[in-house]
Structure formats: structure tokens, C-alpha cells
Amino acid sequence: MNAGHELGRRGENAAVRYLEGLGWRVLARNWRCAEGELDIVAHDGSRHVVCEVKTRRSRAYGDPAEAITITKALRLRRLAGRWAREHGLRASSMRIDLIGLVGGGADGFTVDHLKEVA
């Protein structure tokens, strides 16, 4: 595991803590299928939400939120559909959020939560 993976892992942990702080229930982490991986699947009290976590050490190479292009958003939507079918839910009931994290140093991460990105 290299430094990038390490940072991503810590970012995802921080995102889970952040969501739990909001009172959301985390249902799955790193759920995999043939097409790819979902970072976090959670329930916000009314809907199932797929959270894509992007972590960056700084904004020098762009904001983490900008890393989500329209193709990546569409892939997330397909993956969310697969997860929903596997759990007997309607794909259209799923929401996709983006959690951008910057930092990871001594003072932790700053969290940028974008709702309904796709």
C-alpha cells in the first residue's frame, strides 16, 4: 500500500466519521462488483445514499470535487443501480453524494459535501 492509498483509506475513515456525525447509518464500505467499487453506502434517514469519497492533500492540483467528471458520475449511477438491485431496492431511489476531503495533516481534513451530483 503506497502513500496515496494510505491517504485514501484515511480519507474514507474520516468520511465515515463525518457521516455518522450527521446521524447517517453506514450500510457498506468498499462494496465491489465486476464494474467497480462504491466507497460508502449509507442511509440518511429517508434515502439510500452512495457516497464517493475523494481525498487530496491540498488544492494545488484542483479541488477534489472537480475530479468527478460526467462519465465518472454516470458510472457511479450504474454501480448504485447494481447495489440497489442486489438489495431489492429501486435504482431510482438511490442518491449519489460526493465527499471531498482536503488535508490529512495534523489538523485533520476539511470536508466538502456535495449532494445529488448525478
Binding site: D63, A65, E66, I68, T69, L114, K115, E116, V117, A118
Partner: protein, 515 residues
């Protein structure tokens, strides 16, 4: 979810239409989406605005941002919306108070470092904003003088986005290094002539008849055709016609300046054009260059509109491509040109005095006896100037080279432009007094039916024209044309109505010496 609005102006012809620039920050993938019929340069605003905002020390909102330019059906072109877009985005992101920018009209292109660059068409845009009831405009600093020509408008001239933001936040302006005021972009059209000052009618030796014709043309706004061998002074004469014309009044000057502003042909520094403009397109000019043209998004005025309230000089008329000259016929009648592209039809004013010059034949010998052209070549050459076009030219003149005696005599008697211009001014004043309360500004602008109804001429004076009409050597339109010239001749001679010899001279001028 935030929404902000600013304003800018889209130009259709010389009319400015107010455009609402709205920015909304909503959920969705981060990015900037620009909607509302933008052209290529405007679509590129996406990248310019982002870089400019970041280099102005501001936070770029990493959100799904939609910028809408409304009304959506109005085509919008050019980079002049950049500033309005940038401010709308920052206001939507909460960086600026919404109330500060909602009613401001903003014009200007952004550089990647946040500089505000000058744009073409500022004068008509500010005029449009003022007519729509917006009285505060933000313009690039290089366009400040041009914008301030519009009365009752508060002009905020800024050099950079940072300076504009400080103004909107009521902060002291940033201490910027003394940046030079950015010069307007290189003009796409021929800039208005500046060597006008050195031209004088006294430079032309001989050609007394032509000078008289020039005076008549200047006094009544009559179209003029000069035919003659090379070197006899056709171009010299034509170039001096503007020196005989009175200065433009405020309204006309603003009209002319607005057209030149859109074409990007304003002289930097002192943008108001208050002298009659002079354009002389080369004979390789295309029809779009002469009439105006471009894409349906952005139609730019052509030579005839740049010559509005001035002189259009067509030198070497037979050398122009087929159809170009005849396309002048309608604008000559209506005083404006309508340019139709798919979905839009744009009007530009084109009230010009046409001066055409031509050699009598392709070999252009100084004397007829030396001409080596076959008769058919001669007639083919001049036939390129069509009958219907010549029918609309009030004064046709055949020049011959000045003789030695004429030159010597003339050295003592050549009148200066100022002397002739004073007579022209008097004649124009007489005409204006006669037409007070009517929309026309010179004899040549009066429509035929109105001319006959409002300004009757005594039967004796009409006799020469009626005889020519009966013989068939004068068309009905030609008769109206000759009548207008006769009125100008009467104005020049300070007579209240044309005398029989005025109409006879007008008829001679209309007929010319047809070869």
C-alpha cells in the same frame, strides 16, 4: 442553492438589447455551464472567467454552476459578457452582495490574469442600456471616453476584475502597478482617415466644372460619377468632398460613432467622429465587405454603413466584381441596408453620398486619340456600371486632363475648402429652413412624391425636364433626381425656388456627357 443576476448588452445591428446574466449554484457535478445562444468566443468565457476569478484572489465555487443569458432566443456573440458572468458567479457564491450588482450593466472581456480588456461596440451598448432605463454601466477603462459620450449615464471604468470587486464591496481600490491602459484590439475595418486635416480643395488645379459639381454634391448630398483618364484628378477630388461637408451634429455623430464602434474602427483617444466619414473600399471588396455581413450571430457593418452620413468613394468602379455595384442600388434608395442571415435580419443605417470614379476604357489613354481599345472593349468596360445604378446618380461628369492655361489661371483663383464649405453650409441651411419640421436633412433625402407635393416648382422651370421626359432621354426617377439637384442649385444661388436655368443645369448634370 443560490441565485444572482447582473446585466450586459447584446447588439443586433446598432441596437443594444439588455441581457440578463443569471448565475445559479445547484446540486450536480461541479462545472460551469453556459446557456443562451452563445457563439464560440462567448462559450470560451467559461475558461477565461475561471482563470480570471482565481487570479483575482477569489475563491472559485466548485459547484454545479449554470450561467444563463436571457432572453435565450437572442443571439449573443463576443467576449463582452465575461465581466458580467464573473460578477454573477461571485455573487451567487455569496462573495458579493446581490443588491450591489443586480442592476449594473457590465461590459468587458477578461484576460486570464483578471485584466478587463476593451471590446467593440461599447457606444451602441451603452446607448441601448440607457434607453432600457439602466443608468450605471461598468466598462473597460480603455473604452471609458467612448462610453461617456452617452448623456445621463454613470460610467464606472475599471482596469481589472479585482478593481471592480473592490468597488462593489466599497473597499479602497487595489494598489496596482501602473499598468498601461490596454489599447483597443487591432481594428478589423479600415480606421477612419486621420490625414483629412491636410486635404484642401485648393490642391486640385484646373477642373473648375468638377469643383462646381463637388460643391453641388456637398450642398445637397447628391451622388456623383466622375469619368476621366488617369491623372486628371478624380481621386483627389473625391477625397476632398468630406472637407466641404459641414461637421456632423451631435445626433449624427453618435450614429456614425456607434457604427464605427461595432466595426472596431474608432480612432483611439478621441472616439467621437464629428466629421463626415470617408470610406474607399478597394475594388477587390466582396459584397459582404461592402454591404456588411458575417455569421447570423455577429453581423458587422460594411463600407456603406461606415460611410453613413459621409462619403462612399468607389474608385475604379468597372473593376468591381459583378453584382457588387448593383447591390448598392437599394441602400441608395432607402438609406439603410438589411442583412439577412438564417434566423436574423439586421439593419444598419447607410445614408451615404456615393462618389464613383472610372477610366473611360481599359487602356486608359490620356487622350481619346491615343486609345488602343476596340469599340466593343470600350463599351464592355463601361457597361459594367449598370444603367439602373447610373440612373440613381444625380451628377455625372466627364473630366479631361487640365490644360496648361487652366493650370496657370487656376493658381491664382483656386478656392480653398473653407470658402466652398461656407457656401455649402449656407445652402444646407436654406434647405433645412425650407424642410423645418420634416424628417429630411438634405435635398437628396426627400422621397419623390413628397418632393413634388410639398415643394412645387413653377411651370416654366419644369419645361426643360418635361421636354426631356417626352423625348425619352429622362426617366421618371431621373426627373425626380434632377428636380432635387435643381433645388440644391437654387439653394446655392440663394434663390427661393429653382429658376428655369437651374433645372436645365440639373438636367445637364444628370445626363452627363455620356460617351
Amino acid at each position: 442553492m443560490a441565485l444572482a443576476r447582473t446585466r450586459s448588452v447584446a447588439l443586433m445591428g446598432v441596437t443594444g438589447h439588455l441581457v440578463d446574466v443569471e448565475a445559479a449554484i445547484t446540486s450536480g457535478t461541479p462545472g460551469l455551464h453556459l446557456v443562451g445562444l452563445p457563439d464560440t468566443a462567448l462559450s470560451e468565457a467559461r475558461d477565461r472567467v475561471r482563470a480570471a476569478i482565481m487570479h483575482s484572489g477569489e475563491e472559485w465555487p466548485v459547484r454545479h454552476t449554470t450561467v444563463a443569458l436571457g432572453p435565450a432566443g437572442l443571439p449573443k456573440a463576443g467576449a463582452g459578457f465575461d465581466v458580467a458572468i464573473a460578477v454573477a458567479i461571485l455573487a451567487a457564491a455569496g462573495e458579493l452582495a446581490l443588491s450591489e450588482c443586480a442592476d449594473l450593466v457590465m461590459l468587458g472581456e477578461l484576460g486570464l490574469d483578471g485584466r478587463i480588456r476593451p471590446v467593440p461596440g461599447v457606444l451602441p451598448a451603452v446607448l441601448g442600456a440607457a434607453e432600457a432605463g439602466c443608468h450605471t454601466v461598468v466598462v473597460p477603462r480603455a473604452n471609458q471616453v467612448e462610453a461617456e459620450l452617452v448623456p445621463d449615464v454613470k460610467v464606472i471604468a475599471v482596469g481589472s476584475l479585482r478593481a471592480l470587486l473592490c468597488h462593489l464591496r466599497h473597499e479602497p481600490p487595489p494598489l496596482e502597478p501602473d499598468e498601461p491602459v490596454e489599447q483597443p484590439p487591432p481594428s478589423v475595418a479600415e480606421p477612419t482617415r486621420s490625414r483629412r486635416g491636410s486635404l484642401d480643395l485648393a490642391d486640385v488645379r484646373g477642373q473648375g466644372e468638377a469643383r462646381r459639381a463637388l460643391e453641388v454634391s456637398a450642398a445637397g448630398g447628391h451622388h456623383l460619377f466622375l469619368l476621366g483618364p488617369p491623372g486628371c484628378g478624380k481621386t483627389m477630388l473625391a477625397e476632398r468632398l468630406p472637407t466641404l461637408l459641414p461637421p456632423l451634429d451631435r445626433k449624427m455623430a453618435l450614429e456614425v460613432t456607434a457604427i464605427h464602434s461595432i466595426a472596431g474602427a474608432l480612432p483611439p483617444g478621441s472616439p467621437l467622429i464629428d466629421r463626415a466619414p470617408f470610406t474607399s473600399p478597394h475594388h477587390n471588396a466582396s459584397k459582404s465587405a461592402i454591404l456588411g455581413g458575417g455569421s447570423s450571430r455577429r453581423v458587422v457593418p460594411g463600407s456603406i454603413s461606415l460611410a453613413h452620413n459621409g462619403v462612399l468613394f468607389i474608385d475604379e468602379a468597372p473593376e468591381f466584381a459583378g453584382g457588387v455595384l448593383d447591390s448598392l442600388r437599394q441602400p441608395m434608395e432607402s438609406g439603410e441596408v438589411c442583412i439577412d442571415r438564417s434566423g436574423v435580419s439586421t439593419r444598419f443605417p447607410a445614408m451615404f453620398t456615393l462618389v464613383m470614379a472610372a477610366n473611360p476604357c481599359p487602356c486608359a489613354a490620356a487622350k481619346v486619340l491615343q486609345c488602343r481599345c476596340s469599340p466593343s472593349a470600350r463599351s464592355r468596360y463601361l457597361a459594367k456600371i449598370s444603367g439602373p445604378l447610373l440612373d440613381r446618380v444625380d451628377i455625372k461628369l466627364e473630366l479631361s486632363p487640365a490644360t496648361r492655361a487652366e493650370l496657370r489661371y487656376d493658381l491664382e483663383n483656386a478656392e480653398s475648402s473653407a470658402t466652398v464649405a461656407a457656401r455649402v453650409q449656407d445652402a444646407r441651411d436654406r434647405a433645412l429652413t425650407r424642410m423645418s419640421g420634416l424628417p429630411w436633412r438634405s435635398n437628396s433625402e426627400i422621397p419623390g412624391p413628397e418632393l413634388r407635393r410639398r415643394f412645387p416648382v413653377s411651370p416654366e422651370s419644369l419645361t426643360p425636364l418635361e421636354r426631356a421626359l417626352q423625348e425619352g432621354s429622362l426617366s421618371a426617377r431621373g426627373m425626380d433626381r434632377a428636380l432635387r439637384t435643381a433645388w440644391t442649385l437654387a439653394d446655392l444661388a440663394a434663390r427661393d425656388t429653382p429658376a428655369p436655368w437651374d433645372t436645365a443645369e440639373a438636367l445637364d448634370l444628370w445626363r452627363g456627357h455620356r460617351p
